[in-house]
Each structure stands twice: as C-alpha cells, then as structure tokens.
Amino acid sequence: MPALPRLRTGNPQLLRGLRARLVVGFLVVAAVSALTTALLTYQEARNAILQRSQDIAVNDLRAQVNSLAPELPVPPSQADLDSLRVQLERSGKSRDWDISVHYSGVRDSGDGGLRGDVVIPDDLKASVEKRHVPAFQRVDRSGDPWLLIGMPVRQSDGRASALTVYAQLPLSAEESNVEALVSAAQRGALPVLVLTVVLALLAARGVLRPVRGLRQAAGRIAEGKLDTRLEVKGADEIADLSRTFNDMAARLEESMAELRRLESNSRRFAADVSHELRTPLAAMTAVTDVLDEDADSLDPDTASAVRLISQETGKLARMVEDLMEVSRFDAGAAALHLDEVDVGETIRKTLQARAWQKRVTAELPADVRAGLDPRRLDVVVANLVGNALHHGGEPVRVRLHAPEPGADRLLIEISDSGPGIDPEVLPHVFDRFYKADSARARSEGSGLGLAIAQENVRLHGGSMRAANSPEGGAVFTVDLPLRLREAGEPVTEGDGDPPDDDGGAVDEQTADDDRGGLRSAAGKELHA
C-alpha cells in the first residue's frame, strides 16, 4: 500500500519524460535527415550549375579564339592585339566578359586589361604561358564570384604560339541560383520540423494512452478493485501487455475470491461450532447450581465428580462465549454502541460488579468523560484486572490518567506486583490461546481474554500495550481516543432547549446514525 502514492506521484513525471524523449528523438532524426539531404543536394546542384556555366564559357572562348586567332599577323602589333581583344569582347554573345590578350609578354594596350585590375594569379599564368594548357579559376572580386579563364592559342600546325587570351566573366547569375536552392532548403526544413513535432506528439499519444490506461488499471488493482480489466486493441506489444495484465488481474481476483471463501468458511465454521455448542451448554449450565447444591449430600467421590462437571461446564460455557465473540470480531460484525460516560465511574462499576474493590487500588479521577461503549470498556477492564489478579500478584492497581486539556487520548493503566511477564512471552500475550506457561496447560480463562480485550480496544480505534514495570510486575496500558461530543453540538440538559429545530423527524435517525457513523469509522480504523 505505501508504494501506491509513490507510484502515483512518480508516474506523471515519467510520462512527461517519455513524451519529451519521443518528441526530441523525432526532431533529431528529422533535423539530421533534412540537413543531410539539403547539404548533399546543395553541393551537387552548386557544382553542376558552376560546371555547366564554366564549360559553356570555356568552349565559347575557345571557339572564338580559334576562329579569330589565325587571322592575326605574326608577330602581331599592338593594334592587332587591340582589335583581337575588341573582336573577342564583341563576340561574347550575351556574355559580359572582359578579355585581355597577351603576346609573349606584350599586353594589348586596351584600357588597362581586365576590369577591376584583377591580377591574374601566377599559377594560372604559368600554366597557360609556360605549359600552354588552358586553365580556369574561380576568383572572388570584391565579394562577387567571377570566373577567370586563360586560353593559350595554338598555331594552325598545332604548335604553341606566344599568344594568350584571358577572359573574365561574372558568376552572379549562377550564384543567385545556388542561393535560391539554399533558401528553398531552409524554407522546406522549418515546416518539416514543425510537422515532425506534431507527428511525434501524435505518436507519443498513441503509445502513451495505453500506458496511461495500464497505469490507471494498475492503480485500481492496487486499491483492491480486482475486477479491473483493460480493453485489448490491435495486436501490438501494448495489446500483449494488456492481455497479460488482464490475465494477471483475473488470476488475482480468482485467488482472492478463493481466499475469501476459505476465510469466510472457516469463520462460519467457528461460529457454527460455537453456536451448536450453546444449546447443550444451555441445558447443562442451567442445572449446574442444582448439582452444586446437592453435592454436599452425596458420596465424596460422586460429589467431587459432580463439582468437576459443574466447574468444567462453566469453563466450557465461558469459552464458547469467548469464541462467539472472537468470531464476531473476525467477521467484522462487532458493533460499537457509543455513549458518553464518566470513565472513572464506569471502571469503578466494573470493579464493584465483580467485588474486586478490596483487592484493587484504583486511581480514578472524577469527571473524565469520553465517548465509549461502556459494555466493551467493561470487558476490557475486567479482562485486564482479572488477568492481573490471576497471573500477576496483588496489589493490583488501576490508574486512569486524566487527559491534559486539549489532549485526544485517554490512558488506562493496569499494573500488578507479580513477577512480570517473561520478555519472550511479551510479544505474544495478545495472541489467541497463547499459554504463557506451557506447564500450565489449562487455566481459569479461555485463553481468549486478552485477545478479546485487544479487539475491543481496537474497535474503539485505540491500542493496547503490555510491558514490565521497572519495579517488577506487568503493566498493561490501554490507549483510547478521547471521542467527545463536538463543541458545536448542543448540550441540551435544561428546559426550553429543543434538541432539533425541526422536531425529531431526524431524531431517532440521527441517534442511530451517530452510532453507525462512529462504528463504521472505528471499523475503518480497525481494518486500516
């Protein structure tokens, strides 16, 4: 039972954790896949776009150079180089390229070569002018990407000439294409991630709902509602789990029902046996006084036999009574009839009724009032005092502790001056039929007295302790709740003070309900 609250408070956290973990997991997977896809796509697309424009540009330039270069006189003059440059620049179709023509170190005069004064990197220059291999390179000119192409011109016989053409063209169109790709990827990723969260939540709900159902069902089982069953849907692991849970609950219910049946059977058996014993005992008990009276006039052997029979009949009758009482307690049929009583007075009457006043010292402060069942308190006190007188030693003392103002407990202490109780026996004194001294197999009592006393105290919602006092002798302490009338309830004792405004319509009812309420409250405490 104590595990239940922990389970309850722990579970929502666990649920939250599970949901969060599922969502985060989904998100990470989605983000990684989106990112990877975007990255690869971007790279491939970018390369393809750039490659294509480069190829076109290079081929274009080569075609132009090849068609114009042969017409150039060898060696060309400055003006020849200039005109070649102009021709090439014009032929660049839609291409906005800059051309620079070099002939073995001599540059076309132009207006200073390539726009923006881009220095042609040495690597490119060397590759083109020394090894006569066309080369191109992407360069960054004030933040914008440009393509730089170096093209050696071959003579008609295939030998390398000293003429070299450089071209420079902007890649901004391609760049903006690539940028569009990136932003497309970005725009696509966000909705995907949002969608992922939604899907993750849906999936989490799908998983967690059965889990929550399982948790609630387990809670109900723990509360004792053994007929709890789960609805089995589908054929997944959750369904398997639900099925197993249902099997478990069914088994549990079966075995509990079986246990209860056995228990009630044995209870009924005890009650039936006791009851059946009552009728013959009723006949025997009624006439034992007759036997006792006549014993004196009988033959001594017969007389002792008659006295024995009479005595044992009495014991048997007492034991049957005690057994009936115990079976009533076991069946939960023992009822508490509370009355507000003067506790000291009640205890004094118990002692008087059994003529114990002379043998028992009583410290009973006056005016201690409590809501008690006087008949049951009588049983408790009589049992404890009788026990002390028989098994302990005189003087026996009964002390009622007057409760402090505001206290809610009532203590009654019964102590004797005997040898006390063997510490090994102490934990068992309230056990049924427990015999403190195995040599003393039979005693005055039924062996149920203390057990019954304890049940009576428990029925009141109190407790009972046994201990040895340091001065010797056993001390039994009865701890009872001091149930007093609530302050708000009218204490009507005089005239002209109606107990209930609307007459007694509820009067008898409330008198009974009062007791019923207290009884059930006490019963709950008892079973708790």
């Binding site: 009728t279 006949a283 008990t285 006084d289 009276e293 007459g503 409330t510």
Partner: protein
C-alpha cells in the same frame, strides 16, 4: 413465587431450565412450541414468559407479538444467537429483556426478578407517586398519565403499554425536561447494575414512541438528545 411459562423447543434445555427454576421455587409450565405456549397461556396465567427465539412453526418474534397483542405480560427472550440483529428484532417485537444462552440458573433468576420487580409497578417508588399531587392524573399535551392507576391515555383513549414501556414513560415523565443517558435509564428502569445493553433502551423508546407519539418519526414526548440520551418533553 412467580409462575413461569417456558417456551423452548430443545428438550434438554427445556428440562434443564425447568429443573433449575423449579428448584428455586418457581411454578414452571414448559411448552415445546409457540403454538403450544399460546394454548397453555390462558389456563396457566403465568407472571412471566421465557421465550426461545428459534422455534419451529411460529418463531419467537411472532409469538412475542401475539402475546403482546393480548396482555401486558413481561417477556424475556431466551436466545442462542447473541447477534445484534436477533437481539434488536426480539426487543422490537416487544420483549422486556433478553438472555443469551447458555445462562446459569442464578442469572436466569436474577434477570427474571429484575423484570418482575420493574413490572410490579405499584411498588415502584417514583417520586411523583410519593407526592400527593394536586391531580391524580398528570396531563402532558394530549397524554394523560395516571400514576396510581397505571393507566396512560391519549386523547381520551387508554393506551396498552408493555411493562417496560410503562416503566420507562413513568420514569422519564417524573422529571420532564431532564435528560437521562442510556446507561442511567438501564440502571433505573431495567435495574441492570452491570453494563447492560443500550439497545434495550433504544428498542423500548422506539416501541413507546409508536404508541404515544402522533408521528413517531418526530417525537414530542420522548425526545432524543443527540449524543447524550433521552428526555420527556419539554412540550
């Protein structure tokens, strides 16, 4: 010595109880069934009836009601079942007391004497009887109580009260307005010096109410003081 009618189906108990009572000087008539008991009743004219609850044919509750309907005879239930329900049902059927079997002869005797003493009403020394009141008949609302004649009337009609009910009414009405706890009533009216059963009081109050109140559910005369007990009036 009181004459006792014992209605008990078990032969051994019947013989045993009869023997014990005869030895104590009672004149005992024993009946083995409720029907037989009802037959014997008019001829034998007992002072008290000891009635077993579980009887073949008419059971104890019914026999009790039948006897009550005709005469104000004290009845003690003799029951082997001490369970609450049986006791309460027995008391509600009109029994004056109950004894759980098995009981010793002296217990039977003591309980019978207590009931008889209580129902021997003229000997009952309630204060109001001792004082020669201005009127022999006290009236409370519609209720007229004649303490000397032991007659209670309501609206001019005599009510037939069982001995316990009469005793309880006389005791409560002797000091109108004073509250008595169940325990006090047990001691004074039932003369149970030990811690008796407060169900006796509750059952008797309920029966009394059905006879004297206009509406038993909202009693005028015998009122409940919740958590404490009962009182007569104030009207």
């Amino acid at each position: 010595m009181p004459r006792v009618l014992l209605i008990e189906d078990d032969a051994a108990v019947r013989d045993g109880v009869s023997l014990a009572l005869r030895r104590r000087g009672h004149e005992v008539a024993a009946a083995a069934s409720g029907e037989e008991g009802l037959e014997v009743l008019p001829g034998f004219r007992p002072d008290i009836v000891l009635l077993d609850l579980m009887l073949p044919g008419k059971d104890g509750f019914e026999v009790c009601r039948l006897i009550r309907a005709e005469r104000q005879l004290p009845i003690i239930m003799l029951t082997a079942r001490g369970e609450d329900l049986d006791v309460v049902l027995g008391l509600e059927a009109g029994a004056d007391d109950y004894i759980v079997k098995p009981a010793r002869g002296e217990v039977l005797e003591a309980r019978m004497r207590a009931v008889l003493r209580r129902t021997a009403l003229p000997a009952d020394g309630t204060p109001a009887v001792a004082e020669p009141g201005p009127a022999p008949v006290e009236t409370y609302g519609e209720l007229a109580i004649d303490r000397a004649g032991l007659v209670v009337g309501k609206g001019g009609q005599d009510l037939s009260l069982a001995p316990s009910e009469m005793k309880l009414l006389l005791f409560l009405s002797a000091t109108p307005g004073q509250v008595f706890s169940r325990q006090q009533l047990l001691e004074h009216v039932w003369e149970h010096s030990y811690h008796g059963d407060s169900r006796l009081v509750d059952a008797c109050v309920m029966r009394l109410r059905t006879k004297i109140e206009d509406t038993p559910r909202s009693p005028r005369y015998v009122q409940t003081v919740r958590g404490f007990g009962y009182r007569f009036g104030p009207l």
